[in-house]
């Protein structure tokens, strides 16, 4: 049988996802009409003999209970559980800490996914590659532009591009343009391997003079990182396989990156899931490209929606409204003739008539943060937190608005706190 672990992180690590993470933990934020986590669980559920999915993170236990109940209903053949880390153990440390639960039932393969990514998750292909060799771990990689390589874990492949010769996390100089995607498969042996790494580290510490035992060292010993401690070691022992995906993949680190991720998932769903995306029909509304409209949302027939738009539960879109490249969360009211472009409108937002909420398009993985005259860094996408009211005709441009604010006049390049 197969198992999967999804590393969901914790509330303190999702700060880059503010202000949206103030209301909802990032893994549950919807892209393509479903929580980020759901897409990963859906892909894992289709792996043959997948029996159990474990979420591992620092969030309080109740955070995922309702979501996991829903998953149990939707994917009845899989057992779901959440394991909470109480201290920061590192990505591999957490895994090792819960090794007994993970190893229980002797899974043949353990899938490991980070939650802050969106992808088509070609897990069958990854599994095929993993089972074809002798690797302890197999990593899914994606070819990226040379300039961006130093932001990722980089993998140097062998000639056949099946095994990793070398792995470096965020190298200072250019090493390879194959980046780790945060999707892995390990065999059970990974735990023995981590054990060996820990033992070796303990030996090192023994040899050191006593005065070297200060706080930093203690922490280094406790916290074990997959990227800097385990994968380089596997690669140098010729136990790290690789699979290069040609399909879509990108990180969802910042709130702004939810908009392009939403577009990627919607375009994929439009191809793969009949009826999931809205279709334009006689009598409107006009639909352009991939659009998701929740059944309880109401959209006026004279509105024009898309491409790359999700409209969530109980939202109301007025006459002559234009929305593109945007996520409209639950219970939002958008009044007549307003325009929402490159933006996220938070829960319960109210956008006035002829108002405009517009950010700059997000250029994929390019760095799009900009420094404004006031010295504030702003994500490219315009983000309104929960319960924001924008007065009639006001323009919110390239700005981030924290929850419960009223915007009554034009704002440009501002963070409203």
């Amino acid at each position: 049988m197969n198992k999967a672990v999804i590393l969901v992180g914790g509330p303190s690590r999702a700060t880059r996802f503010r202000p949206l993470s103030m209301n909802l933990p990032q893994p549950l934020f919807p892209v393509g009409g479903k929580p980020i986590l759901w897409h990963q669980i859906k892909a894992l559920s289709q792996v043959p003999d997948m029996k159990e999915i474990i979420l591992l993170g620092l969030f309080e236990t109740h955070v995922f209970s309702k979501f996991l109940d829903q998953c149990s209903e939707e994917f009845p053949h899989i057992r779901f559980s959440y394991l909470r880390e109480y201290s920061v153990l590192g990505t591999a440390g957490g895994l090792f800490h819960f090794r007994d639960q993970i190893k229980a039932g002797k899974p043949k393969n353990i899938f490991l996914l980070y939650t802050d990514i969106c992808s088509s998750f070609p897990l069958r292909e990854l599994l095929e590659r993993h089972e074809s060799g002798e690797a302890i771990g197999t990593i899914m990689v994606k070819k990226i532009s040379r300039d961006l390589a130093k932001r990722y874990g980089c993998v140097v492949p062998d000639e056949e591009k099946k095994m990793a010769l070398h792995y470096v996390d965020k190298p200072e100089t250019y090493i390879s343009d194959l980046a780790s995607t945060g999707v892995y498969i390990f065999t059970n042996e990974i735990f023995d391997h981590i054990d060996k790494i820990l033992a070796a580290r303990a030996d090192e510490l023994e040899k050191l003079p006593k005065k070297a035992f200060h706080d930093d060292f203690d922490r280094t010993q406790d916290s074990l990182m997959l990227e800097s401690d385990v994968l380089p070691n596997l690669a140098s022992n010729k136990k790290l396989g690789l699979y290069i995906t040609q399909d879509f993949w990108r990180q969802i680190k910042t709130a702004a990156s939810a908009v392009p991720a939403n577009g990627l998932y919607l375009n994929s769903a439009k191809q793969e899931i009949p009826g999931y995306c809205a279709e334009g029909k006689e009598g409107g509304p006009e639909i352009v490209g991939a659009v998701y409209i929740h059944p309880s949302a109401v959209v006026d027939p004279s509105a024009k929606i898309g491409p790359n738009v999700s409209i969530h539960a109980k939202s109301h879109i007025g006459a002559g409204v234009r929305i593109k490249d945007a996520i409209i969360l639950d219970n939002v009211i958008i009044k007549d003739n307003a325009a929402i472009i490159n933006a996220i409108v938070g829960w319960g937002g109210k956008i006035g008539r002829w108002s405009r909420v517009e950010g700059n398009p997000d250029n994929g993985d390019e760095k799009t943060d900009q420094v404004t005259s006031s010295g504030v860094k702003i994500d490219s996408i315009c983000i309104l937190g929960q319960d924001i009211t924008v007065s009639d005709e006001a323009f919110v441009r390239n700005s981030i608005v924290l929850p419960h604010k009223h915007i009554s006049s034009d704002i440009h390049n501002e963070i409203i706190m």
Binding site: G320, R322, N337, A339, W354, R397, H412
Partner: protein, 304 residues
Amino acid sequence: MVSVLKKYEEEYGITITFSVENEPLGTAGPLALAREVLGKDDSPFFVLNSDVTCEYPFNEMVEFHKAHGGEGTILATKVEEPSKYGVIVTKPNSTMIDRFVEKPVEFVGNRINAGIYIFNPAILDRIEVKPTSIEQEVFPAMARDNQLHKLDLEGFWMDIGQPKDFLTGTCLYLSYLAKKTPELLVSPSENYVHGGNVLIHPTAKIGFGCKIGPNVTIGPNVVVGDGVRLQRCVIMEGVHLKSHACVKNSIVGWHSSVGSWSRLDGVTVLGDDVHVADEVYVNGAFVLPHKSISSNIPEPKVVM
């Protein structure tokens, strides 16, 4: 320009003659150049700078001018800061102009030349066909000869040479119409009118669900789509504003178009035949004729 003004000849039963300078002759020289037209009989003639707007009290000017019997009358407007202008000083208890004080340091008066005059043809004897300033050269001489009087202009006055001032002048003029001849404006009870001061040519078409005003003029044959928002703007002849567009504080030139959900603001000026695509934001752009705008212009700039 000739073709535009031809229409007015018919509409108002007047003759319009063009006198064209081949070289710049200043503010007085052109009058000498047009001597044959202006001096063909003894009747006085008006001279106006075209870049000012006010209530144009022409009848009052004629009466006043005939009554004082001098060669010229200058319409004088009140300003808040006379130290920025040339101030008119009259003789005590008289309308006769004594002198002009350029940018006075001490307060000598608050009336300045409004750029609108009425003259007897005799003024033409004071001017030669060469570059001459009426303000600097001709007026001081006339004042010395006790031939120049001032008539105070009541109400608004605005130099509208700059787009920003043109919009302000439009607002002032519309407010004046609202007071004086409200029947020329669209009735504020019309459901799309917001805040009044809306002047729409009868041949213009207004879509459903628009909100227009205050301070908007819409020229002949303009087509305004559904759900369009207009405020403090001038829409010239033949313009097409597509549905759900929003235009504020802007001038849209002849036969231009503004796309659906596009937004103009910040004293944007579109020249003749400019086309703004759908969903574009244009802030403070000065767009030369025959251009197409297909992406946002968030900061003021000239598009040429």
